[in-house]
């Protein structure tokens, strides 16, 4: 394979990389001019479809296909939401794009809006990113000045406004319909689907929700063509009819017990071990890796033996992970306790569950309570089976919930206990030598208060 040239991160080290001047100096906005002149919206959709671009927000849904679900000849308005809520733990690639190269994201967004004929785009940004906010606002202002935004963009007849909306920071605001509700000023309770946002989204109008990195990819597909994009990455798995291939460059976020944590751009499909050893400088302190989170904690766990799994949309499923997610790899060295890992994970999901669906609200809370008890040295071995039962029954995959948060909560439970069961059992037996085998229920501990 020839040496891979970064494209998404190509400019971030240049001085003033966040300004229009710097962006245009490296060829920025020429793709937009070309597309507006040469392609119809339908052709733009076809271009993205042909590139095989899959969403970078977590679900990996084919981007061009999503756009084509919009109703045909809709009188409008159609809305575009750029998902910049980036709240999956250990994920920070969107932040790097927005802070250091916001024009790349905006150019992609303008073209995506042109393709979908959206007249308004909202960038839904988490409140914890103040620098992103300032840079995006500045970049948008620069675009209005240059005629890239506003009425009749570059004489094409196409008009677009972009607004940055800051969400008050909840994981669930990243779920696309939670985002839409939040944008409308409501509690971010994900909507029941169908109808999908493409049919009924923001303000009950057709809406596309795409991740920041997906937008950046659109920019490069427009500039370099779909063949270029498709030449990078992993083709579709012939044995898996549901796999649509994993094409293009990807920003991998590497964190945890490595020597050089950071955001690395590589073709989709590099292995976890490559990422750790070739880019992360290996596991820190000369230790060995015990496990790694492949794509944000909601995707589950890779054991040390599974580290050669390619980080793409298809391969991770084969080792029992949920998927690629946000491609945020967190490495745990051999001193790490899986009990701590799972406890922390359960705490996150219990805290972030929006509380709508009973199985998710109560399941995540119950799982945390059991993990707390295990950590406190009062666990029983039967707790592990209960945890697994919760893990196996919550989520949109079994059908018991509205959104995917609970699948994300389920996977670490399932992977950690199934892949490291011995460690859990040993921990419970040593910390609770007299009670680990108890199977009957404990009575309520505190008498009821009187009304």
């Amino acid at each position: 394979m020839p040496q891979f040239e970064p494209v998404l991160l190509a400019n971030i080290h240049k001085p003033d990389s966040h300004t229009r001047k710097a962006y245009e100096a490296s060829g920025g906005y020429s793709a937009l001019k070309k597309i507006l002149k040469e392609k119809t919206p339908a052709e733009m959709i076809d271009l993205v479809k042909a590139s095989g671009l899959r969403g970078r927000g977590g679900a990996g849904f084919p981007c061009g296909l999503k756009w084509s679900f919009l109703p045909k000849n809709h009188p409008g308005p159609i809305y575009m939401c750029v998902n910049a809520d980036e709240s999956e733990p250990a994920t920070f690639n969107n932040r790097i794009l927005m802070e250091l190269d916001p024009h790349q994201v905006i150019e992609g967004t303008i073209m995506a809006c042109y393709a979908t004929q959206a007249s308004t785009a909202y960038i839904y940004l988490r409140i914890e990113y103040p620098t992103c906010y300032r840079r995006l606002e500045a970049a948008i202002a620069e675009c209005y000045d240059a005629g890239y935004l506003g009425k009749n963009i570059l004489g094409s007849g196409f008009s677009l406004d972009i607004f940055v909306h800051r969400g008050a920071a909840a994981y669930i605001c990243g779920e696309e319909t939670g985002l839409i509700e939040s944008l409308e000023g409501k509690r971010a309770w994900p909507r029941i689907k169908p109808p999908f946002p493409a049919v009924e989204g923001v303000f009950r109008k057709p809406t596309v929700v795409n991740n920041v990195e997906t937008m950046a990819c659109v920019t490069h597909i427009a500039a370099r063509g779909s063949d270029w994009f498709k030449s990078i990455g992993v083709p579709a798995d012939p044995n898996n009819p549901r796999d649509a291939g994993s094409y293009g460059p990807k920003l991998y976020c590497l964190s945890g017990h490595v020597n050089k944590p950071g955001c690395y751009e590589q073709p989709l499909g590099i292995t976890c071990r490559q990422l750790i050893d070739e880019f992360g400088g290996g596991v820190w302190k000369g230790r060995k890796a015990k496990a790694a989170v492949p794509g944000g904690i909601s995707m589950g766990l890779l054991t040390a033996a599974e580290l050669d799994t390619p980080l793409d949309f298809n391969a991770l499923g084969k080792v029992g992970c949920l998927g690629l997610g946000t491609a945020a790899v967190t490495v745990m060295d051999d001193t790490t306790s899986m009990i701590d890992f799972l406890h922390n994970t359960c705490r996150f999901f219990s805290h972030e569950s929006c509380g709508q669906c009973t199985p998710c609200r109560e399941g995540t809370h119950w799982a945390l309570a059991m993990m707390e008890r295990i950590k406190a040295g009062k666990g029983r071995v039967k707790d592990l089976d209960l945890l697994l039962e919760i893990g196996d029954t919550i989520g949109i995959i079994p059908g018991s919930t509205i959104c995917g948060l609970s699948d994300g909560a389920a996977w670490p439970i399932k992977n950690a206990i199934r892949k490291f069961r011995q460690e859990f059992e040993d921990y419970i037996k040593t910390t609770n030598p007299t009670g680990y085998m108890v199977t009957e229920a404990v009575p309520a501990l505190v008498p009821l208060s009187v009304h």
């Binding site: 999908f196 199985p359 609200r361 029954t393 309520a444 208060s449």
Partner: protein, 581 residues
Amino acid sequence: MASWFVFLTQRALRFRRGRREDHTLVSRCCKGNAKNKKLCCMATVLVDGKEIVLPDGQKLNGIQVARLAGTDIPHYCWHPGLTVVASCRMCLCETGTRDPATGKVTMLPKLVPACQTPATDNTVFVTDSEKIRNARAMVEEDLLIDHPIDCPICDKAGECLLQDYHFEHGRDQRRADIRPFTSRRREMGDTVTLFVDRCVMCTRCVRFTREISGDAELMVINRGAHEEIDVFPGYPLDNKLSGNVVDLCPVGALGDKDFLYQQRVWFMKKHAGVCAGCSTGCSITIEENQDRVYRLKPRENPEINQWWMCDEGRYGYHHVHAEGRQTEPRRIVAGERVNVEWSAIPRELNKQLREAGRIAVAISPHLTVEEAYLLAAYARSIDADALLALGPVPVIGEDEKFKNGFTIHAEKCPNRRGVEEVLKHFTGGVMSFGDFANEVASGQVGSMWLSGGNKKSDWIDAATTEKLTAAKVIVVQDLFTSPAWEAATWQLPGAAFAEREGSYVNHANHVQSFTWAVRPPVGVWTEGQLLWRLLNRPGLYKARPVMQEIATTIDYFAAAAEEVPPTGVKLIAKKQIPASV
């Protein structure tokens, strides 16, 4: 993924579009042809292997078709009067489609909420499988994790879905042995209190205040398992439909302060009734134990009140048992007020009235149609020239219309329309109470009868009473004292709405019939019973035969000739009857 998306979206769209623009859908799919229509709009749905044919164009979800098939799918968050949120996940079932050509059934691999799944042609529902049983048991188990399980001191016990579903679908063990639980109570407003930890977060109450009453006082605070129902500080639950949230609450979380700790639900008997609070005439259930009313609840009636009733009506039963309610019949003999036996009244009253000359009768809009008819018939039987008029019609404020169309009427009586039609039959028109008083004051009248049923004393003032005292014999039949009562030569206690039997016609000419829920206090005769005796009719007073008689003599009531269904029937005013009918 993509094909699922298309499949589900199309189904949902068909469902929603059908709801909003029924006509376009029907005309498009049947090409406007009535013959096609039958074939193509009829949907066949399979529920646990049973074929259910849906009537033309009917849009139902899984819970509703299952009900048609005789199966109850347990559910908390879904309510036919509110939007679908599909969040409690108690209604999970399996679904798929049947290929009409081959009969082959393809099922979706995952569970789906029945409440959110539209029943269209060839939809297949499975409501009982191991997967479904496990899912339901898990939801029940989940809901009890932080529940105080204080059924012995909970008002809802006995009619609580959490209890019922636990018996039917729960596990016999509590595996969630994790945390001590709390039991907190918090005031939502003047009418409703919240037992915070009993809540199952179905959000029915929240949706009600947004979608029906429109004031949006209730909300969900916090997130995840810390979620609670609450109000914003300083903005309590304060709207005229507030009591409905208690009915909606599937568990004992929302308590009605009026009913709190008054009675265990299994001791009460339920009687279908009609609210007498205003001319809307909501269908209600009167719940009573040993002749004491403990609460009123709305009874579903798609034509009138859907599932709701207003607080004024709901809590407007206290006068039935109020202190000061008149229970002793009295008359004036030789300047002295003396008690009379009920059994002696018909004979003696009849005698006095016949001797007093012209009789004038004001028929109260609180009387039933049957009582009004008997009263008018009686007056005319002793005096063919009897003066008949409509009693005072209480009007307070203006009609109040809510977000979903529910209306509380300013006219605070249940049967003005019914009495008017009776009067028209006897007199050809309707005399107002004001004209009536003036007529009596002119001195041409020998005896005068005021019928009542008024909740309070203020329905008549001293000046009007003064006019009425021109008559020699003054009969006042009512619940409480009033200036008119004090002036009466015959004070006759009357019945309250829950004690009456008969029919009311609401503002929109909708008649509903009902029987009594409680007996009047200490031997009081209802108006109907007294009039029955005065007319010397045989046997006991029953309203139904009287209504039959009315329906054959007064055109307006013709539709009530047959047994009136529990939700009532629409009456057509005479002038509106088309020529061909």
